[in-house]
Symmetry: C2
Subunit: 296 residues, 2 copies
């Protein structure tokens, strides 16, 4: 994933979060009435969004909840969107935030990385995971990182307002999220590959730039998936400071910030795929400029 | 849920965890080869298991991961199993352990409690949730507890060996899981209904009986879902001490402990439904006897 990032000089992940308000007005109007119609609209929307991202971003993050909430047609649309992304050469992070133990964790790994997922095209390159249950929740995924070249990102510091309620509890002078980061770094130590980064990474919200910067300093081998850029408040300057000297080490995720361009373009009679491409390029260029300014 | 528990004097939840080794040997043999065949076998197995549980347990906990790992046919089988349970008058806890924020959390609530779930029969009475992201992850579910009579159980102290890694970090003299329990108790305070218990409950593993007993004393309004009974190590004495004076307040979950009877009965040429019924009754009677002994 790091290689793809540096190839494009683009530490960016575009989030596919299909929701009412992000499709074009015409697509919205045509997809009312049934979950099946909406799922089909998400699928077509997804392909047009993906077309705009090729060769601009290395990876996409697909939020499964927005498909899961459409029942079976939604699950099918998720799988087809994953497949469409991979066919276009994009790496896919399944934003599934699963977290369970024992054979259940194993079943989730099968569901998202193995043959069951492959059978419907839904096998992703990496997933997001919830670490509250400890290493047991990650083990089957770590095995697939080791054996099948997959990746995983454990939630460390989420981007939302109530994240501090548990993540900022202070134990032994350090907040819980720092303990979690240290655990994740340790669990992934044997999985360091591409340019020093482990295939077990961490999720840290761009909305907490101080924590992001500190984590970068403390854990130089953690690849960090950074949601909360743009619409949620994280800025190019915030993330640029946390990039490594090659401008890598983060995957800055933006969903609404990029996706908004789709509807705006389509509703104005322009090609929404081109709108997406321009928005993704603008984000890449913003971060690149902020990175260069921060090292000047 | 409490009413159903006391009606049956049975604070028990049977866990439906369909996995190789729990179906009968004949069913296993017949369902090899495709995810579709396996999903169909799980569906039929589920109906026979559920038939054995009627009027013995008030509720079942269905583990979605074991269905999710069979792709689309699995998701369909999960929905049909949920529906079959509800048709038999059993309350259903969807063991989904979802946890996300904002519109994503809303989408998960829709997926498991609202129309999208209803459209395929997969709408459950309650879900399990992961609280690591704070209250944001629970809000859409709390709204449905308030408005639609649904329930939710937040993970507090899980039953697995690595649970202490994060949950036992000590902040301000108390482990993280105690902080989480207090937060959950507070979030659910306005949802106290049936006999004083809130429809937002907690998950505490039977494998940590001291923590379970302490939580019971500290938070008398928390209905506690207790996995880890039987096969994982929790005993009738462990849970009996944490029941309230009416023998309620817990939902003790057993999966393998009950489900093993299915294969054993079927492979011995007996009716597996009756095997399940006998195993569930035995568990109920064990807990009842331990409860009476603990109060004698």
């Amino acid at each position: 994933m790091i290689r793809a990032t540096t190839r494009l000089s683009s530490p960016i992940v575009a989030g596919l979060d299909p929701r009412p308000g992000l499709l074009s007005t015409a697509e919205e109007d045509a997809s009312h009435g049934s979950f099946r119609a909406r799922a089909r609209a998400y699928e077509e929307w997804g392909r047009r969004v993906l077309d705009g991202l090729v060769d601009v971003v290395p990876a996409v993050k697909i939020q499964i909840a927005f498909y899961e909430c459409l029942g079976l047609p939604g699950v099918r649309a998720y799988a087809r969107t994953v497949r469409a992304a991979r066919e276009r050469g994009l790496l896919v992070i399944g934003d599934v935030k699963r977290g369970d133990i024992g054979t259940t964790a194993e079943a989730y790994a099968e569901a998202h990385l193995d043959a069951p997922a492959r059978s419907i095209g839904a096998d992703v390159d990496a997933v997001t995971l919830n670490p509250y249950l400890g290493r047991d929740a990650l083990d089957p995924f770590l095995q697939r990182c080791r054996d099948d070249g997959r990746g995983a990102f454990a939630l460390v510091r989420t981007s939302n307002p109530s994240a501090p309620q548990i993540q900022d509890l202070v134990a032994d002078g350090r907040p819980v999220h720092e303990h979690v980061a240290a655990l994740v770094d340790g669990w992934g130590a044997e999985l360091r590959g591409e340019e020093g980064y482990s295939s077990l990474g961490a999720v840290v919200g761009a909305t907490y730039p101080r924590e992001l910067l500190e984590l970068r300093g403390r854990h130089p081998h953690l690849l960090v998936l950074v949601p909360g850029y743009g619409a949620q408040g994280g800025t190019a300057e915030d993330v640029a400071r946390a990039l490594d000297d090659r401008g890598a080490g983060l995957l800055v995720a933006s969903s609404r910030g990029i996706l908004r361009a789709y509807r705006e373009s389509a509703d104005a009679g322009r090609d929404p795929t081109e709108g997406i491409r321009a928005a993704a390029r603008a984000m890449r260029d913003d971060i690149r400029a902020a990175f260069e300014a921060s090292r000047a």
